[in-house]
Symmetry: C2
Subunit: 198 residues, 2 copies
Amino acid sequence: MSKKERQQQLLQIIDGNPFVTDRELTRQLKVSIQTIRLDRMELGIPELRERMKQMAEHSYDQVRSLPADEVVGDIVDLQLDRSGISIFEIREEHVFSRNGIARGHYVFAQANSLAVATINAEIALTASADIRFVRMVRLGEKCIAKAQVRSLAGRNGKAEVDVFTYVGEELVFQGHFVVYRSAIEEYSEGGNRSADRH
Amino acid sequence: MSKKERQQQLLQIIDGNPFVTDRELTRQLKVSIQTIRLDRMELGIPELRERMKQMAEHSYDQVRSLPADEVVGDIVDLQLDRSGISIFEIREEHVFSRNGIARGHYVFAQANSLAVATINAEIALTASADIRFVRMVRLGEKCIAKAQVRSLAGRNGKAEVDVFTYVGEELVFQGHFVVYRSAIEEYSEGGNRSADRH
DNA sequence: TACATATTAGTACCTGGTTCTAATTATTTA
DNA sequence: TAAATAATTAGAACCAGGTACTAATATGTA
C-alpha cells in the first residue's frame, strides 16, 4: 500500500470513527505509531483528545441555543392569550453549510414555539398550521417573530394564532397556527406553561 | 463557606462551564486541588476529559441522525417528480424530555425534506405549506412519510406535493407543500439535487 | 553508488488527571 | 480540656494519549 493510499484509508477510518486512538490505527493500518502520527500531521488531523474537545465544544454551542431548549427562540415579550414576540438569531448550526441559508424548520420552529407559548393553557399543542416562507433567511440574521392571537375557544378548545417573522423591516415568514389548549396531558407541543421560561 | 456550600458552587460552576479544569476550580473556590478532587468524587462528577468525551459521543450520536444531514429522515424510495418515501425514527434527541413526545418541527422537517427531495430541480425550496399534526408521535416510533407530487408547473415554477406520515397504519401528520423549483440559486431548501444523498 | 524519501525507534516532556499514603487542621463530642 | 472525628492539604507514583525531537534504518530512484 502506498503512502497516499494509507493516508486516504486513515482519513476514512477517522471520519468513520473519530474516537479512534493512534494505537488502534497502527493495528488497522499495520504501520508504526510514528508513521500514523506523521500521517496525521501531514493531513492536519488533530489528536484524539483535541478531536473530542472540538466535538464537545461544537455540540455545547448547539445545545445552548437549540432544541435542547423546548422553546426555539428567546421570548422577549409575552401577553398570554394576546400576543408575544421572540428573537432568534440564525447561527452556523441552523443553516445549510453549502449556501448559508437557514433550514426551513428552524424558522418554522421559532414561530411554532412562540404560537404555543402565547396560549395560556396547561397544555398547548399545534393541531395544524398554514405557513409561508416569504424570503430566505441567511446566516447571522436576527428573526423577530410576532404572534397575535386571533380567536380563542373555551377553556378546552382551539385557538388561532398568526405569526409574522421579520428580519429588520422585511417579512420572511408568515404562519397561521391552530393550537389546541387543554388541561389534560395529551399532546404537548409546548408543555406546562410554568416550565417554558426555564 | 461550608463543605456543602462549596460543593453546590462547584456543581454550578461545572454546569455553567463543563470545560473547566480542576486547577481553574481551585482558583475560583480557594481550596486545594485535592479538595476539588474529593468533591468531584463525592458528587460523581467525572474529570474534564471524560466530560468532554461524553459530550462528544452524545453529539456524535445526534450528528449522525440529525440536522447535520441536510435531509431529515432516510429516503428509501424516490421517483423524481412523482413520489418518495422516507423513514425517520424518533429518538431521544427528538422528543421533549418531559413526556417523550416528538417536537413538532422534527415531524415537519422530515416531511419538508422529503417534499423538496422529490422535486427534480437544481434548486428546490419550500414556498408555503399547509400542515396538520394528526396525532402525537412518541419516542421510539418510526415515522414513514410518503410524498406524492400533485402538480408540476414548468421548469421554473411551482410544484405541489402532498406528504402523509404514518406510524404503522396510523396517520400522524399530513402536509400540502408548495415548492419552488428553479435552476437559479436563490432560495435553496434542499439544495443541489446531486448532493442530497451524500 | 549516491541521494532522497519513507519508515521506524526511542527518549524527554506535557496535560489533566487517578490512586494511595500520610500529615495537618478544624470541629465536635464526651 | 482532651480525645475523637471530619475535613483539608501535601506529595509521590502512575496513567493515557499524546507532542517534539533526534537518530537510525529501509526502500526506491537517478
